[in-house]
Amino acid sequence: MSAVAVDGVWKFYGDYPALRDVRLSAEPGCCLALIGRNGAGKTTLLRIIAGFSRPGRGHVRIFGQEPRETSTRARMGFIGHGISVYDELSALENLILFGKLYSLPDPRRSAMEWLERTGLERVRNGLVREFSRGMRQRLAVARAFLHDPGVLLLDEPFTALDDRAIAVLQRLLREALAARKTIVMSTHQLREALELASHVALLTRGQVSFHGPATPEMVADPGYVYARYGEAG
């Protein structure tokens, strides 16, 4: 069974089809890089996979279940454009909050563990609004990984990250792949993504114009996919 299966998904904004008959799948242990120009539909597709939005037609399955099923949501981690943590709470309070929402057996212990893994244990009681951008981003990473999700959905995960946050994220993503977690990430930063990606899907104006394994040519030249399969290709 595929970890993520997207079957004939359409999404309309008014009359405009942002996604057109998108069909994709990602197996357990696979890292799928969703690439495409601005407005190609990457974020829309990720939000539908995450269950934040419903498709106009078609359906998405996560391990064979609807994304909005409570048990499915417990198996997904999401990093979007925002950091999705509260400025008015401390780092520890934020992670304990999400630990409780995910019904972790010991939210405080899990929170402390992830603060340590992301290098934030010394500022655990500091309010997030006082954090630097890099610290906030590492906390966002900790929040997404806190409940040990089987599927990680990452929307432009490397954008605006500082060097340390990129290193933390790449290390955690490698560990996740080694543990046969599934990663679906949209990205413009092909070089960072292709270092991790086992598969690539190119979205062009809401349609999948390429979906297949990442090849040595893609890793050597990130522009290769666009040139070969994109509109210019």
Binding site: G51, R54, T70, R73, F78, V85, L101, Y102, L127
Partner: protein, 227 residues
């Protein structure tokens, strides 16, 4: 069921903690309520019999306007860092999320009402403590009506650019029956008249409004949040 209420409590505590740290909604709401009460006391002579008769209406106009300031912040608080996405992604039902937020709003709206009430009593010279238990019952029911409708529409308008304008425009017409009931009941109670006879039907309507809109909101919230 225990897990459901535990999640409700987690959301409520989170919202109250965030509000207590910033006090942005409560301070604005409280200041607004006190200023409006003061202005009304200048506009209407407290010694006039007609002023006493409409005092319940004046009080609920203040509560409705001041309450909207609290309710506007409810889902707007989730916007700055896209925190609503994290809540929607979490394995909690929309009903638990809604109820958690509604309870936090209820506490804040009640706090504003309980501070404004004695001030109202002083400015208008009414015997608001004469029927205190019944008055509290009406306040609790009226505040819940305001909160439940305001919270669901706060979720609905969270992504609208003019949500501060849209929220009262959407909520007040729906709140008319509840506000009418609360006004009628309050007007009698603050003048020392207990709920009896005709006014009992207003109380029943207020209870019915609360039950219906709570149930409808719990059913609709998932659609409101995800579409």
């Amino acid at each position: 069921m225990i897990a459901f209420f535990r999640q409700v409590l987690v959301v409520t505590v989170k919202d109250l903690r965030a509000e207590l740290r910033t006090k942005e909604a409560v301070n604005a709401s409280l200041a607004f309520a006190l200023v409006i009460l003061l202005m009304f006391s200048f506009a209407f002579d407290p010694l006039e019999e007609t002023t006493r008769e409409i005092s319940g209406g004046l009080l609920w106009i203040v509560f409705a306007f001041a309450g909207t300031l609290v309710l506007n912040r409810s889902f707007a608080r989730e916007q700055p860092n896209d925190c609503l996405d994290a809540l929607i992604a979490a394995p909690i039902s929309g009903a638990a999320l809604f109820l958690g937020k509604a309870l936090a709003n209820y506490v804040l709206v009640l706090a504003v009402e309980l501070v404004a009430l004695p001030v109202f009593g002083i400015f208008y010279g009414v015997h608001w403590t004469a029927q205190f238990p019944q008055l509290m019952l009406v306040l609790l029911l009226g505040a819940w009506a305001l909160t439940v409708v305001g919270t669901i529409f706060s979720a609905l308008t969270v992504n609208i650019r003019l949500r501060e304008v849209m929220l009262p425009m959407l909520t007040y017409p729906i709140l008319v029956p509840a506000l009418m009931g609360a006004m009628q009941l309050t007007a009698g109670l603050v003048n020392g008249k207990p709920i009896s006879g005709d006014t009992v039907s207003w109380l029943k309507m207020l209870i019915g409004f609360d039950v219906i809109f709570t149930a409808v909101s719990l059913v609709l919230v998932e659609t409101v949040l995800v579409g």
